[in-house]
Symmetry: C2
Subunit: 365 residues, 2 copies
């Protein structure tokens, strides 16, 4: 493997000093980029066609890095690969979200679930290895998975939902069934992430995209407990390097302390949280990732830069008064919108780099 040329992302995750605040963007390889849309055509205009072809997945993973001075790459894949490998039959209708042919709704379907053979997910691990080779040490590669709860939402609902009626009915009426699904998901996710780490992922992120729809006690019992189970089984080191773990719960701002206590290195935040207030609450015990509103990218480049500076200023000087470094990884508070003007992304990344460098000189002068 090549020597890592830019380790600012990994250092920020571990709350070590950096010259500037590293930045990457959730869903940075995606439809807002014309070059992504061109590659997708090569895969028959199919999302899973892209994701299951390691060469094409590598190509799209690197596209945003060629345009913007981003500080990390993230594996191009889908969060539903694991339940697909469980045999639930993932498909993407034209213009629609994901759908499972066989949702898990009754006792028999739950009894039939098992941690899938990782051989069925080989295309993912091959993509990780291929991307690492292609990156040649430019920036680190982040692997990822959906959280046990978020995977269960799709598995039980069978598709996206606006009320989560199926899974919440199971949660309140048959919690035993849901606990069984979540235990299997947690073990599957841990194995899946560990295999990504062995294949070359230098950090891992768990997307608890739907944790925020849960009642607060239910969040702890049905989402956080299983994220914790994943964390307890996760490789934290590989090849002598610490592998940082990031957990992002959309809408999870109220539960920040409890998420931080699962043993993660980094907590991802959406834009409803004041980053400075969040930092004070966790007192730099973990790093924070986020949290600009992706819709800021629809304003002018000057407005984008001003909002980026406001987010950095909210976090404050990375080195706290007590001398400890609080890690901040700049990111959006959610995935980038497909209609985002690509030039505004450059304005964002440049503003993050230049303003965070300026903040460091100001605080040391």
């Amino acid at each position: 493997m090549n020597v890592l040329q830019n380790d600012s992302f990994l250092r920020a995750c571990l709350r070590q000093p950096t010259d500037y605040t590293p930045v990457w963007l959730m869903r940075q390889a995606g439809r807002y980029l014309p070059e992504y849309r061109a590659t997708r055509v090569k895969a028959g205009n199919s999302f899973m066609g892209l994701a299951t072809n390691p060469d094409l997945a590598t190509e799209v993973t690197l596209q945003p890095l060629d345009r913007y001075p981003l500080d990390a790459a993230i594996l191009f894949s889908d969060i539903l690969t694991v339940p697909d490998a469980m045999g639930l039959g993932l498909s993407f209708g034209a213009g629609e979200g994901p759908r499972f042919a066989h949702p898990v709704r009754d006792e028999a379907a739950v009894a039939a679930l098992a941690v899938p053979d990782m051989a069925k997910l080989r295309y993912v691990f091959d993509a990780v290895a291929s991307i690492r080779r292609a990156l040649k040490g430019r920036v680190p590669l982040i692997g990822f998975s959906g959280s046990p709860w978020t995977l269960a939402c799709y598995m039980v609902e069978g598709a996206g939902s606006d009320d989560y009626r199926q899974i919440k009915t199971m949660l309140y009426a048959r919690p035993d069934l849901l606990h069984r699904i979540l235990a299997i998901n947690a073990d599957a996710v841990a194995t899946y992430l560990n295999t990504q780490i062995e294949a070359g992922a230098q950090a891992v992120m768990i997307f608890d995209s739907w944790g925020g729809v849960l009642e607060h006690r239910a969040f702890h019992e049905f989402s956080l407990a299983y994220t914790q189970r994943v964390m307890s089984k996760l490789k934290r080191e590989h090849g002598g390097q610490r592998v940082p773990a990031i957990v992002f719960t959309k809408g999870g701002g109220l539960w920040l302390e409890q998420i931080a206590a699962t043993g993660v290195d980094v907590v991802g935040l959406d834009w409803t949280c004041d980053l400075g207030a969040a930092r004070r609450r966790i007192d730099d015990r973990v790093a924070l990732q986020g949290n600009i509103d992706p819709m800021v990218l629809f304003a002018s480049p000057d407005a984008v830069a001003a909002e980026a500076r406001a987010v950095l200023d909210s976090f404050g000087a990375p080195q706290a008064a007590n001398g400890r470094w609080g890690g901040h990884v700049f990111n959006l508070g959610h995935g980038i919108n497909q209609h985002t003007p690509p030039d505004n992304v450059l304005a964002l990344v440049e503003a993050v780099h230049s303003h965070s460098r300026a903040m460091r000189s100001a605080s040391t002068s």
Copy 2:
């Protein structure tokens, strides 16, 4: 007017002692009730047909009270009546949400906006008066409006949205336009609520249904500041009676203290908040309304009752150790789902009444 026979809701709003915790349900007059669906047929199966006919609006408002021992009625209407009266052309497509024929997206459309003539909303005030007569003092009547921000979301987007791209683009690119819309909305909402109060509404509620989609600084500038403007113009007394004001911001748990500081009597909470933790944060300076997950109602009646008890226990003894009463109005954390089994609603209401009575005897024995 008749003497009020059950004032537990108004007393809880004002943090006065009550024998039990009053309960009502957001969207309690609605599609989950077969009698509602039957009345709607009389209005040509049209939501606005119901809302604009004071007799039918009265009929559906009272239906849930005839089924369940609820402690308050809420005006049957839509949150978009005000922008409709502004001339935006509200319609409801079959099986779809609301839609405006003339969304407000440019300088000219914003310049043309004005506080509407309340005569155009006479059907609402007539419904309030008609419902008050029909209630004969059984329980108090709550009037309501969308918040300035939530109305603006629909006015700019033209319909529901999952990313709020149009209004957030305006927010970040042309905040001056959005501020003008919000100022007009705030003045219109204040006049609208005051006219409802004059017509007989005994409490008012502001639904900030989409406040939670805003970045935290933007929430304060574009939602809360205008809720505050409404509060500053709101009648707080009518006919010698205090008229409590409730503000509900879905997803607003992180901003509880600031919402409480606008001068409201009651803050509505969704189910992501721990009610007990919320109460400690605001130290009984305002009453709290909420916050069970409406999806609980899809479990068994026993499970519904257990979850209701858990919400009451989370709030704790209404009389705090210092002797002050903390007001709690039991409610869902969001509107009731249209597929809810009606019998489970009875289980919920009865569990709230019986357990909250038992809690009071336990804490005074």
